[in-house]
């Protein structure tokens, strides 16, 4: 089986950069800030494949570049370098012009115009942030939040949008009689579930989960994780799970990448990463687990 998307050499630098940035940052220097020019190498040369219906974990401490990676792949920030390509048979129903006649993979999605990126995002991706304020309009009704996303994806019939919103909120266990309430009235766990409903509204192939259970209390975390597992198998989603919690990664992901100072220091099967970590940073991470 071939990967759904291929990421190669993905890099992001904040600042002008100099020729010594890459040789003076990274885990062996214990910094991601270049001492010569002050630029921050948020992530450098990250390559991986994501397969259909697979959950890939990304672990690392704050500042390791995990969230940067998601922001780049969600087209929120422009990458400094690297490529993201999607498989021809992914089931995209838009932008067939991205594929050369005989090519199995599309051209570099990171090089698309802003308009094309928006189209691609609507057809391909959903995202759930740690902070629900980033993913939701807190003063707009929950149904309205979903309808807004559907409008972006080209839906126009109000009745059908409302039906779709109700269906998704039901799936994510939000009582339907609260569909017209704004998320600001909801608990943290409910807000995350509205975010998940919104992220799924356009039937994405890929769902980015950026620390989705961080800050929720344990029993609420458990329900959100259960929901994610159910939805993944029901919709055959590919998940990119960013978390600093190895328990979350262990529960959701078969494969895991470990990041530190903007670099991938280790990648492998999740049980191998947890039971036989190779890099000394991963060993420290596993040993520090509660």
């Amino acid at each position: 089986m071939e990967p759904l998307i291929r990421i190669r050499g993905l890099s992001k630098r904040f600042g002008n950069g100099c020729h010594r940035c890459l040789s003076a940052t990274g885990p062996e220097f214990e910094t991601n800030m270049c001492p010569h020019c002050g630029s921050v190498v948020a992530c450098n040369d990250v390559s991986f494949d994501l397969y259909k219906n697979e959950a890939l974990g990304i672990v690392g401490e704050s500042g390791s570049g995990k969230s940067t990676l998601v922001r780049l792949l969600h087209f929120e920030w422009d990458a400094t370098g690297g490529s993201m390509e999607i498989h021809r048979d992914a089931g995209l129903n838009v932008m067939q012009e991205l594929f050369g006649d005989r090519d199995i993979y599309s051209r570099n999605l990171l090089g698309l115009s802003p308009f094309q990126k928006r189209q691609m995002r609507n057809a391909l991706m959903g995202i759930v942030y740690q902070n629900p304020f980033l993913g939701l309009r807190m003063n707009v009704s929950s149904g309205g939040n979903i309808a807004e996303r559907l409008l972006g994806a080209g839906w126009r019939n109000i009745g059908r949008m409302r039906e779709r919103a109700a269906e998704l909120l039901e799936k994510t266990e939000i009582p339907l009689d609260r569909m017209d309430e704004p998320p600001k009235n909801f608990s943290g766990g409910m807000q995350q579930r509205v975010q998940i409903a919104k992220a799924l509204s356009n039937n994405p192939l890929i769902l980015y989960l950026d620390e989705v259970t961080t800050g929720l209390d344990l029993s609420v975390q458990a329900r959100v994780l259960d929901l994610i597992r159910t939805l993944q198998s029901e919709y055959k989603l590919s998940l990119l799970v960013v978390s600093h919690d190895l328990g979350v990664i262990n529960l959701l992901c078969q494969r895991t990448m470990v990041m530190k100072y903007g670099r991938v220091v280790e990648a492998g099967l999740t049980d191998q990463i947890l039971q036989d970590p190779q890099h000394k940073y991963t060993q420290l991470l596993v040993a520090s687990q509660l």
Binding site: A222, L269, D271
Partner: protein, 176 residues
């Protein structure tokens, strides 16, 4: 050794040659991660010493999950198979919908074994599968293992009880 074969541990050196139904002759020690996952999904099972299951999943679902994920059968069919296996292992029916985390050690281990054998893997790795079982349950488990063998499953097992081992194995490899 079992963990090296299953690739939970990365072997420092050496090879693990496996004649895969899907891939032919392959070295599990160096196989790419995705192919290892595929082999684990299609062919290779592992029974740990203790049950490690996802929390908040019922005993019946724990046993049904691998059948549903792998054998391409309907939910009803998977349920029939899982119930049959649980009954054979004398798990009381009122525990089917309960969470195994609340079970006794012996019950948990029987769920663990049911989970590992339910989908009839081609290669099954067993790490002291009967260590935490009472003697009655040991016989039930051995029966199931013998039946799996007759149906073509190859097994590598770690046993401490040599007598018991002799009753289920063709060859014994001693490491000291």
């Amino acid at each position: 050794m079992l963990k090296c074969i299953y690739r939970t541990y990365l072997p420092g050196s050496g090879s693990v040659w496996y004649d895969s139904a899907e891939y032919g002759r392959i070295d599990l020690a160096t196989l790419p991660d995705r192919a290892v996952i595929d082999i684990r999904t299609r062919e290779m099972g592992y029974v740990s010493q203790f049950l490690k299951v996802i929390p908040r999943v019922s005993a019946l679902d724990v046993v049904m999950e691998p059948i549903l994920a792998r054998n391409g059968v309907s939910r009803d069919e998977a349920r029939i198979r899982a119930v049959g296996l649980l009954e054979r292992l004398r798990i009381p029916e009122h525990l089917f919908d309960a969470y195994p985390a609340t079970f006794s050690g012996g019950e948990q281990q029987r769920i663990n074994i049911a989970h590992a054998v339910s989908w009839k893997p081609r290669l099954l790795l067993l790490d002291e599968p009967t260590a935490s079982l009472d003697s009655g349950s040991v016989e039930l488990v051995l029966d199931i293992l013998r039946e799996l063998r007759r149906e073509g499953t190859t097994m590598i097992g770690i046993f401490h009880d040599t007598e018991l081992m002799a009753s289920v194995t063709d060859s014994v490899f001693t490491i000291c």
